[in-house]
Amino acid sequence: MGFDATALRAEFPLLARGGLHYLDSGATSQLPQAVLDAVMAFETTSRANVLRSVHRLAEAATEAYEGARSDVARYLNVASDEIVFTSGTTAAINVVARSFGDMLQPGDEVVVSQIEHHANFVPWQMLRDRRGIVLKALPLTADGRLDLAALGRVVTPRCKLIALTHASNVTGAVTDVASVVSAARAVGAKVLLDGAQRVPHGPLDLAALGVDFYAFSGHKMFAPTGIGVLWARKALLEAMPPLLGGGEMIRTVTLERTIWADVPHKFEAGTPPIAQAVGLGAAVRWLSALDWPAVSAHEMRLTQRLLDGIGQIGGARIVGPAGLQGRIPVVSFDLEGAHPHDICQILDGFDVALRGGHHCAQPLMDYLGLAGTTRASLALYNNDADIDALLKGLDSAAAKLR
């Protein structure tokens, strides 16, 4: 198939206007025309509530919504009745922390890590305080990766769940899932992966990964805000009580009691984010049509330029792995004597959008002894001009601030 970086970037209206080097895709990605069109077409030709009415608009809306579920299932290589639409990664992980978490007993253990985004940390801390479970954090290695050698020590027979990020939003490090899964299996624990940063970088085979829960957001993978996905094995979804009650998630309601609907609907109380799901479906179809080896090679080539360029700035230091092995195109760095917000602000003057701060990973910042880092996070639409602008701006910022 091949891959034409210029043509691909032209598919993103916000970027095609020019004048912006957007390197904050780890926070939120931009939207391709195909997704904008899918949402618009839905809203202007098929908008209706789903699973409720029999008129033609409602039938079209239901088909679009359930079609999106199938599209997402295909992107992940799982069954579509295991796909629960949520409002985002955070909501998805909270569902697990409540629905699965509240089935745990005091003294049961949940293992997270020191590198987690608050979305995969705070819900477990809340569960600890609510249920008296023990929350353990896997330590990190010197270069900011998960210290998987510690798994044997941290994961005990009381462990019921290991909840880790699939790829770090700060360091870009990708987790070695196989060793996590085998540590979990050895004690009968389940594995949850926070895939928020991983999904924008190519299709997944969850079946092959062997995990039990997977969570991600649409807005980081070229889809609308307000939509996310919780995937879980069907047997788990069936065993878990729902978090939210309301319409669409019931079979029958009487004054005395309620019987839940089948999965996945049991977890989709109320009118779902219909147009947003349709947008997510369009995004995964768009993503699936790309030549991924070529896209990845492009992302990694730019990442290498970034790592090299930052390395040449005096006083700059990459935070996390310094190479391309097992990483997504997310690069954090520290510039001695310069505050991340000052760097980002000066770079904004060069039309470069970066993010500085703790990146919702305060436990990691504590570990690193930093108030924050400056982060460039790339997506498939970035190009050499973006990297040039960033490096040029960084030189200037360093000269100014240090």
Binding site: H339, P340, H341, Q345, I346, F350, G357, M365, A371, L401
Partner: protein, 137 residues
Amino acid sequence: MSDDLYQRAILQRAKGPAKRLDSPSASVTVDNPLCGDRVTLDIKLENGAIAAVGHLVRGCALCQASAAVIAATLPGHAPAAADAGREALDSVLMGGIAQAPWQELAIFAPVQRHRSRQDCVRLPFDALAQALAQAKT
């Protein structure tokens, strides 16, 4: 568009030496939760007036410069000058001017157009208000 924030005046203040006080009348540390910035402010009162201000900032240049302007301006004035400083800053951030003795706050005029950064300049004034309240009790 944003580069204007980092003019000579602000950067000079930000890079100037930070100095804590040895035996302050009050000392306060405040955090900005959003960006993790942290300001420590010491004040020494003598005969009802502010004799000295010490400061230490782990934060951005705007925050550092703001603390430095306080430390440079306030000594010799009555505590009420702190409130006047807060008002002068608000005025500058809304496009107005800063009354004496706070004229130097004019260096923050460009922050007017950067709402997300205004708290950075304000944080040292929050710390100052808390330190004065502490000194009074």
